[in-house]
Each structure stands twice: as C-alpha cells, then as structure tokens.
Amino acid sequence: MNDRNRLFLTGLWLIVTLELRQRVRGVSWYVLLGVFMLLVGIVTFLLWLATSAWLSGGGGVFSTIIFFVLLLGTLVSPALSGNAINGDRDAGTLATTQVTLISTGQLVLGKFLAAWITALAFLAAALPFLIFAVVLGKVSLGTISVSVLVLAAELGVIAAVGVGLSGILSRPLFSIVLTYLMVAALSLGTLIAFALLGTATQQEATSVSYQVVESIYDEQTGKQSDIVCSTPETSTYNVPRFDYFWWILSANPYVVVADAAPGSFDAGGHPTDLFGQIAVGVRSAQVPPELYTEYNGCQEAANGYADRQFDSGPTPQEIYDGAVPSWFIGLFIHLLLGAGALTWAWRRTRTPATHLPSGSRIA
C-alpha cells in the first residue's frame, strides 16, 4: 500500500469514527438496539410456533428474520443517514472539516461507511436469532451466505442514498423525507406499479370449444362413436398482462433478497422458506397468459379420453426453475442508484465551491 492510499484510509477512518461517535453513541442508541432485539426475539418465537419449525426446519424462521432486519434497516437508516452532510452544514461543522486536509471524497465516503455500519448493527443484533434458526436445521449454507450478503448490500444502498441525498439537498428534513420516499418507492411503489400496470394492460383472450352434441356410447369398450360435434363456441375475456411488467418487481429490495437466495424446495416442489415463496410468485409473473385456447371435446371423446391429462399445472419448483432470475438486475440498479447518489453528493460538496444552492451557506 503506498503512502497516498494510507493517508486516504487514515483520514477516511477518522471520519467514520467521528461520525459513529457523533451520531450513534449514547444510551438512546442502545435502547433502540435492545428494543429491536426484543422484537426479533418475539418474532422468532412466534415463527417457531407458526411454522412448526421443530419439524420443518428453520428455513421459514431464518428468511423471516432476514426480512425483518431489512424492514427495520429501511425504517431506521434514512433517519440516521439522511442528514449526514446537510445536518453538519446546519450545525456549522462541515466547513470546519473541509478546511482541513480531509478531502471531499473522504468526507462523503466516511459518512456513508458510518451509516452503513450503523445499519449493519441491526444485522449483528439479529445474529443470535439467525443462529437459532440455522440450528433448527434445513437452512443451506448457500441460503445463509447469499441472503446475508445481499441484505448487507441492500442496507448499504439505503445508507448511500441517504448520505447522497443529504449532500444533494440543502435542508435536512427534506433529504430525510426524500430518503424515506425512495425506500417506500422501492419497497411499496414497485408492488403498486406492478399491480396497476399489469391490471391496466388488459388483453383480450379467446377460447374456442367444440362440444359433443350427440354420440353413441359403447358400454363394453367405454368408447364413443358417431360423434356429432357442435359448431365452435367462441368466448372472449380480458386477461391482465403481468408478464410485461414483472421486471418492475426486480427493483424491490425484498424481491432482490428473496430471488437471490438459492431456491429451497421440498419433495413436492413447494418452497420451504419465505424467500422461495416470494421468488416463485415473482417468477410466475414472467409466464405470459395464453391468449388463445382451444378445447376440442369431440376429439377427446373420439380417442376415449386416452390422452387427457389430469394435470394440476407445473409445480412451484418447475415455475421457479423455468423462469429467469432477476435479482442481479435489481441489485445492479440499486448499487448504481447508491453510487450515483454518493457521486452527486461528492460533486455538490466539493470545495472550493463554484455554485451555492440558493439560500444555503457553506459555512
């Protein structure tokens, strides 16, 4: 490591520790973590009961705790990171840092890392319960590592968006609210957009059926002969086209975590954890509806229903395996969003400043 990198990292770490000492030290922070642990504990216990985890394994408990950490992380992180830069500007401590040998890059990255570490503290607090879920059994190493890593990445994205917006906008309240709106847009907005767009894009589907009007049934062979067929009966109805919009869901952080985890299915092809259920749901939206169906009762009757399939459709596992995974697209978009927010914040915070946002003092 050369001298320049060492200087950069020393300064970066100084900002990280300063941020952590400034923002999250204190009794209230530990109370918050304690309340979080209590909640996760209650949720774990109830899930243990609800999923009969002592028989079915810890997959359900594990996946739900991961989602719970994601939920809490997305609820708390914007408040802790959304005023990192403009809050310092308001408090008059930003400019006094900027006149030192700390660079804007160190300042923005340091604040981001501190916000990320803060969010990861929730993951750490949930660790005992995650270990408990693993001990219950049937949670694969792949699921554990992938879901924890993707969860950590998603928490990092929220921290980056929060810190980024705090550098882009001059008012702390506004940037915190906008960070929450970003989180809501990704978590809920994608669901709403998917449902509305899918149902609004109705398409007409046609089904044609031929029915047996008259036939002679041979009781000995069980076959029909001299079949008189009806004229084709055509009916039309509207079907929603969710398959056009399934990609919207890939931007949902919960979907990213669920879709990334390797699918885990039981012998009947049913998912054994929440990740699998969500992933199957999302991936089944990729399948286009059939716009033309034909039912020929006469033909079936003629060959004695020999090739009639008493088919209940594909199993969830078949749907899962037959569709395209989308989590890396979603994760890539999120990482791009986080990196973009930080870059923009860096540009806006750089000194000497050529441009001041209206009404803001840089001191």
């Binding site: 200087l7 300064g11 400034q22 030290r25 401590t93 006094t96 000194t351 001041l356 003092r361």
Partner: protein, 335 residues
C-alpha cells in the same frame, strides 16, 4: 506591495495573503467587486465593512471554500482554487458561525481536528493540551461542547483554527461573545502570533478594539475595497474632537471668542462627556488646543471623539458612490 520570506534552501516564497481584483456574484447579487488587499506575514490586518459588504464572502474564498468569479488569490503563494490542499495546510480559519461537534468534548474536538491535519494521535493530544491552556479552556476541556457558553465556544473555535500552527490566520468576528478579559487575551495572542510571523486577517465590528491590535486596515463596502488614497483622504478629513474642561463655562466662553476658534473649526454642541467640535485636520486641532490653553481654559481632556478606524470607516461609507468611483470594476454602476 509584495512581501517575501526566504525559506531554508534559498527559494523565495511569497508569504501572507495577496488578493487582486476578486469578484464574486451569487445569482444577481454582486457580493464582491474587484476586492484587492495584501496581508504581509507578521502583521495583523483588520477587515472592516458594514453588514453585507462581502467580508464573509471574501474570507470564505481565502479559506478555500468558495471560488472567485474573477481575480486571483494567493495564500503563501498558493492558489486556493487550483491547489486547495497546500493552502489548507498553512491556513487557519475561524468562521463566524460557531460549529462544534456537540457530543464531543473540547479536548476530543481539538484532537480530531489535529488528526484531520495528519498529526499522529500523540501529536494531536499534545497540541490539544497546549491550545486548551492557551485559550483558557482548562476547566471546560472535558465537557461535551454543547454545554459550553458562547464565549467558550468562541475560544474553542479559535483553538481549532490554530491546531496546525498556521502561517496565515483568518478570523471572522472573533471577538463577538467574548468578555473583556477574553478580548484582551485574544488581542495579546494575535499580536504574539503576528510577532512570530503569522499573517492575520481579522474582521470585526468592534472597531475600537481593532484599532488597538491592527497594523493596517482594509475597508470593504459594497464588495469593493477602498484604495489607499481614499483611506488616506478619509483619515485626514474633518472629524469630531471632544474637549472637557474643569470649568465648562470658561470653555464655552473661550469657544465663543472669535480669535480662539480658527476658520477650520466648527462647534457641534455639548453632551454629557464634554464639548464636541469639528476640526478639519490635526494641525487645526493643535492650534485650537494652544489657543484654549492660552485663554486660560483648564482643559483636562482633548482628543478625537471616535477612533481612527471608526472615523475612516464612517467617512468611507458616507456618500459612497462618488468617493468610490475609482475602484468600481463593474461599469454599469459607475456614476
């Protein structure tokens, strides 16, 4: 005026602050219009101007936080726009807003600031102790800074500007909020730093105080610095003198006598502190005193009613456009 200092191996590095023709606008507001000033190393220069005259804007530019639209700035020979890091290493800035990390103690804040200037933890701790003693914060050093009073925060802010022993010191309203004792020690400290070779630029509204510590003054009005000729003219212009006598009626009589008061003297009136007269220049003031003493008036106090800086400042800001036409850089506003 160019001030140069010879460093070690014989290279000549200009030191102090040199600002030439700096302008800056914020949208349609022209904050600075061709400000020009020099602060040589080893001196204290006062930056004086009414509210909104561009003092803070100028200091922000010197502190590498803001780029000028036009003009050049050199801090110890370095350009804050193209080489801010070099400037930051030699420049200390005390802002007019008192910002401190609220949950950190003064000691921790100074140590962290030291480490921001790439000191080791040990060096920063030693320096923090020195500065705590220097700024008289010993009793409050380990309390979180949010409980400090305004004056204490002000001293912490000064200490922070001094962490890396800068060769150029920029102070924006350093005396506001300080009690008289703290003001006196600030004055001594700045004189001492200047004696050690620091270039100090102080902006303040308390003109009487600057009078006592500044070697030179820069007057800023409407974003323009007054030229030396204007300052000289304003300083020499008619000003008020205050006269106090043990026998007020004798003074009154003498001032009413035609021979005593010369053509260049105008009696303004009497207030609680004495009699105010307007005197054209120092020579006519001396003549007036001479005549009063000759007439037997027991004069016990005879001096300018306002300090030098204040007099110049008030005179420069009075009927500004006509006086300042020579330093206007924006042709549209030239009368």
């Amino acid at each position: 005026m160019s001030v140069t200092t010879v460093f070690g191996s014989g290279g000549i590095v200009p030191s102090g602050i040199a600002v030439t023709g700096v302008s800056r606008s914020f949208g349609s507001v022209l904050a600075l219009r061709g400000a020009t000033l020099t602060v040589p190393a080893g001196s204290v220069t006062a930056l004086i101007g009414p509210n909104g005259s561009g003092k803070t804007t100028l200091l922000l530019m010197l502190a590498t936080l803001l780029t000028p639209d036009t003009g050049t700035i050199r801090i110890n020979g370095h350009d804050p726009v193209t080489d801010p890091e070099r400037v930051r290493a030699v420049m200390g800035w005390m802002p007019d807003t008192l910002g401190s990390w609220p949950s950190l103690s003064a000691r921790a804040a100074l140590q962290i600031t030291g480490r921001m200037y790439r000191m080791t933890g040990e060096q920063a701790a030693v320096r923090a102790n020195e500065l705590i003693a220097l700024t008289d914060l010993v009793d409050f050093a380990d309390r979180p800074s949010r409980v400090l009073s305004r004056g204490q925060k002000q001293r912490l802010s000064l200490a922070r500007a001094l962490v890396h022993s800068p060769g150029v010191l920029l102070l924006d309203e350093p005396a506001s909020g300080l009690d008289p004792a703290a003001r006196a020690s600030l004055r001594q400290l700045l004189r001492r730093l200047a004696g050690e070779g620091t270039a100090v630029l102080v902006s303040s509204h308390v003109l009487a105080e600057l009078d006592e510590m500044a070697d030179a003054a820069v007057y800023l009005a409407d974003g323009r610095t007054a030229s030396p000729e204007q300052v000289a003219a304003a300083g020499a212009s008619a000003r008020s003198w205050r006269i106090r006598s043990l026998d007020e009626s004798a003074l009154e009589r003498a001032l009413a006598t035609p021979g005593v008061v010369g053509a260049l003297v105008l009696v303004l009136g009497v207030d609680q502190l004495g009699t105010l007269v307007q005197v054209e220049n120092e020579a006519s003031a001396a003549a007036l005193l001479h005549n009063l003493v000759l007439s037997g008036v027991p004069v016990c106090d005879f001096g300018p009613a306002v300090g030098n800086l204040e007099h110049t400042f008030l005179d420069l800001t009075r009927d500004r456009p006509a006086r300042h036409s020579s330093v206007v850089v924006n042709p549209e506003v030239t009368p």
